[in-house]
């Protein structure tokens, strides 16, 4: 053994008693195993004894021939794989993939058997020498010798891509075979699947869809294009589920989304006669839903839809509120707003997945355009007035609630909620005093809604009005109980005692009541002041009504329902046949504008003209004369003589209301400034403006100029002072 090495004098050798086994032992054993591997690859394994082969492999490892066993395995397996590779290369056209699949499954079966036989080596020799385990080794060798062989690699890729292309163009391909081949690539490791298939596949797909989307968009309208895109997307998802790695789904859908949607997004949305605006106009829920679902998948997709929708709503809304035709009829105006709101609500719910951001966009658009028309608060209040006066008769309770909720929604959009409050108070007062508010529950329910929306303060006066009505009823009962007997057959009096402040203040216009009436009123005054000390009672004759029984010249009897002023005028004719305007004015002392209106309604309205005017004309002149119209007839026994009032406010009234609102705002702004300064002590101008605006925005939008005026006023009154060093700073003076 160590011949030629004996140069040293002597050498201490470890005591060895080497057991000499058959020197050819390793070769012989390996031959057996090698033969077995050949037989396995040649489908001849049934004649092999597993136990014997396992024992042989065990013995080789045990006797330190693991290295020989391992390298032998590598070269034998490589040999067979190269043979297989040649067979696959030789396969013609369509049979290429099938041949590859057959050989792959052969190799897998063989690999399983070989691994079983060499299990002991796998367990002991391989970990201790940091080698690749048998199964993995088999996969690696397959990859290197078959999949990566020059003649197979590109052919495999091209075949796969071509099959997919054919499937995309509508042909039916063998999906099972595809699945097996793709599965093989996946088994060979994620990098093989990615580099040899997925990456080129995605690139090819991008090209394909880029071209196809270009073609589509030239010849289809938006709805059809979206249908096609959706179908393609679903096809790709289906393809992944049938024969690709599930992880590829996100990537291939990404490609389709980018090529078919993201790249054409703006063009699609703005497509003439079929784009988003058209869909919104025509309520195309299905198309809109499809657009939403597709655009949602790409960055900025939804914001694109949202922006177009917002600007569309704003434009059409602006048209609506600034249309002078629509403004003529407040009820129709509000009905239009509600219809618009319903339309978009429905679109958002049914097509846009009830998306919060879309709801917000809708709300902000409404807020934007409703406030473009300064009369919106008035109109909304008028709408409520209309509904509560008559519109709700015979309507079910739930429907009433529904309408009220919708009104509240519009109310929320208003920036000038205090203006609404002003009008609402006026309208409510009229409803209450005329006794026309039939559904009391509906009134109260709306008040509760306003209260939850704006707080107690907002509705306390409104609630006060209801209380006054109730108390008045009780007072009248008491009055009638006390004086009922002595009043006898004379006129009856109904008084509503209104708390000053709770009700819309009207300039107290006094007029001369007919003698019978003023006596009765005196009685009530003494009764009322007798029960409530320390109060002052003043008559609001301009707000009352009266029922008169009138007998006309031809003997016809009618019951006339008139205002208190009209009553005063008519009662004059009990003692005179004809009166001039001047005489009437003198006798009643009704302010001339009111009187003119009152006479107009008595003399100029066709069918209700209980008076006759000389000369006959539409307008009342100072020199006109009036007499009872003996020829008055009516089909009804009860005739209601309305006062000619514009339902909408006239221009000067509007100015007045506006002024009152501005007046009311002043103390609120001042209170807000003081509250803020009290807690902050020192603050600069811009921050005060910002905070005040924020605090008040639930009621109205404060005007910065007005806030500045209020600050100055507060400085004058020594609530605040300017900082000496920095003039922009304000200081709170306790």
């Amino acid at each position: 053994m160590n011949s030629g090495q004996k140069k040293r004098n002597f050498q201490i050798e470890a005591f060895k008693h080497k057991v000499v086994v058959d020197p050819k032992y390793a070769d012989k054993t390996w031959k057996i195993l090698e033969h077995a591997i050949h037989e396995i690859y040649n489908h001849n394994a049934s004649g092999l004894s597993f136990e014997e082969l396992y024992r042989n492999a065990y013995n080789m490892v045990l006797h330190k021939f693991g290295e020989k066993l391992y390298s032998g395995l590598v070269s034998t397996m490589t040999f067979h794989l190269q043979e297989m590779s040649k067979c696959i290369e030789a396969a013609h056209g369509g049979s290429f993939l099938e041949e590859l699949n057959v050989k792959w499954s052969d190799h897998n079966k063989a690999l399983q058997m070989i691994r079983d036989i060499l299990m002991y080596m796998d367990r002991t020799f391989i970990p201790s020498t940091n080698r690749t385990p048998v199964h993995e080794l088999g996969l690696n060798l397959w990859r290197d010798n078959v999949i990566h062989s020059t003649k197979i690699k590109t052919r495999l890729l091209n075949t796969l891509l071509e099959l997919i292309l054919r499937e995309r163009t509508g042909e039916v391909i063998n999906r099972g075979l595809m699945r097996n081949i793709i599965k093989m690539l996946m088994d060979l490791g994620p990098s093989v699947y990615h580099d040899d298939f997925e990456k080129p596949f995605l690139e090819e797909s991008a090209d394909f869809y880029s071209a196809e989307s270009q073609e589509f968009i030239e010849c289809s309208d938006c709805g059809d294009y979206l249908k096609k895109a959706e179908r393609r997307l679903n096809e790709e998802i289906e393809r992944v589920s049938h024969y690709l790695d599930a992880k590829s789904e996100a990537q291939i859908t990404n490609v389709v989304e980018k090529e078919m949607i993201a790249n054409h997004m703006l063009r699609l949305v703005h497509m003439e006669n079929s784009g988003l605006v058209k869909m919104l106009l025509d309520d195309k829920f299905e198309d809109l839903g499809r657009m939403y679902n597709l655009f949602r998948r790409v960055p900025n997709g939804l914001s694109t839809i949202r922006d177009v929708m917002t600007s569309h709503i704003r434009d059409t809304g602006k048209q609506l509120v600034t249309d002078p035709e629509k403004s003529k009829n407040p009820v129709e105006f509000v009905d239009c707003l509600l219809a618009k709101r319903d339309k978009y609500d429905k679109i958002i719910i049914s097509a846009f997945n009830n998306d919060k951001t879309f709801q917000n966009a809708l709300n902000s658009s409404f807020e934007y355009f409703i406030n473009l028309n300064p009369r919106s608060p008035e109109y909304i209040s008028l709408f409520v007035d209309d509904k509560l006066r008559k519109g709700l008769k015979g309507v079910k309770e739930e429907d009433i609630e529904l309408i009220l909720d919708k009104v509240m929604m519009l109310f929320r959009y208003l920036q000038e909620k205090d203006v609404f409050e002003k009008y609402y108070k006026q309208h409510l007062a009229k409803r209450l005093l005329s006794g026309k508010t039939v559904p009391d529950d509906a009134e109260r329910s709306l008040i509760v809604k306003l209260k939850t929306e704006c707080g107690y303060q907002f509705t306390s006066k409104l609630e006060g009005m209801f209380t006054d009505m109730k108390t008045s009823q009780d007072t009248m009962q008491g009055f009638n109980a006390t004086y009922g007997s002595e009043l006898g057959n004379g006129p009856t009096l109904v008084v509503q005692v209104l708390t000053t402040g709770s009700w819309p203040t009207q300039p107290s216009v006094t007029c001369n009541l007919p003698a019978e009436m003023s006596a009765l009123c005196e009685k009530f005054r003494s009764y009322y002041l007798g029960t409530h000390t320390g109060r002052r009672l003043s008559w609001q004759t301009n707000m009352g009504t009266a029922d008169l029984r009138a007998t006309f010249g031809n003997g016809q009897k009618y019951e006339l329902n008139v205002s208190t002023h009209q009553m005063c005028v008519l009662m004059l004719f009990n003692n005179a046949d004809s009166l001039s305007y001047k005489e009437i004015e003198q006798a009643t002392e009704i302010p001339s504008s009111d009187l003119k209106r009152c006479l107009q309604s008595l003399a100029c309205v066709k069918g209700k003209n209980v008076l006759r005017k000389e000369p006959m004309s539409k307008d009342i002149g100072e020199d006109d004369a009036f007499s009872v119209n003996d020829k008055f007839t009516s089909k009804l026994r009860k005739v209601k003589i309305g006062t000619v009032v514009a339902q909408k406010e006239s221009e000067p009234e509007k100015q007045e209301t506006r002024q009152r609102v501005e007046e009311d705002r002043k103390p609120q702004i001042e209170a807000a400034i003081v509250r803020i300064m009290k807690s902050r002590r020192v603050l600069d101008h811009n921050n005060i403006i910002a905070e005040v605006t924020k605090q008040l925005q639930s009621r109205f939008l404060a005007n910065p100029g007005e806030i500045k005026k209020r600050i100055e006023s507060l400085i004058e009154r020594d609530f605040l002072e300017r900082d000496n060093a920095d003039r922009r700073l304000y200081r709170y003076l306790a």
Partner: protein, 443 residues
Amino acid sequence: MGIQKDSVRFNVSGRIFETTATTIANAGRNSLFGAMFDDNWDLQPNATGTTEHFIDRNSDCFAVLLDLLRIGELHVPPNIPEKLLYREALFYGLLDHVRSAKWGPFDGNKLHLSQSITGRAPGDGTAIRAGPDGGCCVAHGSMVHVYDWMLEEHPPITLDYQRVNDVIWADSKSIVISACERLGRGEGGMGLFSASTGELRYKFHVTHENQVKSYTAGALSFSSDYKLFSSCKGRSNEYGIGVWDQVTGKQIDFFYEPPGWSLGDADRLQWLHGTNCLLVATLFPRKDNCYVSLLDFRDKSMVWSWSDIGAPITDERRVRDAIAMEDTNSICVVNEYEDLGFMDLRFAAGSVRWSSRSRLMKGKMPDEPCYPKLALHEGQLFSSMNDSISVFCGPDWVLTSRLRNSYGGSICDFSIGGDRLFSLHSEENVFDIWETQPPPPIM
């Protein structure tokens, strides 16, 4: 037909065994028997067409292993050497079955002495460390002996006369050894070795101002995120705690010893998983005083510290070992009479509450005493004293068990891991293996 379809016949060196496919299937796919089944766990037909499988192996062992597959318990008759059984199990691919049937989940109160191994080297051992899979390594002088869970010895690691200070298992395949610097040679420090072959894989260096320094590495500890800590003493005052990445072997941090304190000489390092801090304890007699501190490496601060500097020192008050118990936010210390003391981790600069358990030891100390060491395992506290190990449980740390093997003298170190407890005796390098019996199979 006649033959039950499920039955299998084995001819093991002439002895016939008959069993069922269900029993054999318990062996799992990665065994010799696994190859006899197809993918649906149906028996594959034999190559020769007979129903008998011939196996050229020891039939007695086959009987034991067949019973293991049948009932899940291991019963080895005295006439079968354990090593032989392991060889046979390895052949069949059943070694994992044997291991899990051999001993059960660790419980300090149910330990029994399974084996004592007498070593080859005489004299004091430095340390014994249990491996994660039930193996262990024993350090003495400049040698480290490595045993796998079958207690088969692997090639020992020899450090060419550098004294080993500490050993720690990095994983079941590799161990880290810290050693003394040898004067003038620039060696020492730490290295990672293969447990199966004893080869050095790589060394851990200390760099100071971009220069690689030679140093003496002391106590070792791992953190949960694969960082390795060691107390270090360099030639030019690089005293402190070094931090390395276990995976790359690169130094990533160094905590220099503050003046008037001791880190580089530490006897014990312990990583606290809950607070992400490192306990460093330097104890008598390596230093005259004891220094216990908690280091936070994220902001390089000492978040808790205790020392007995300035306190009147008596033997009863001298701390011999310290261990942090995160569950109770305390540190347990022990004196040389095995009295336990506790400190609260939540308050800095506290004092030790000694629970004067016994003073009986005083005056009864053996000639060659070994000072107490502490270990903690799942709420059980272990302390070694002379030739026995005490087990304490519960919130008040009541003594519940005592482990003692009359042979081998005092215990100089012990370690718990891989569901086993290893104790190293000072005489003749004997070490004991304590195990918990496997639980009976669920009826």
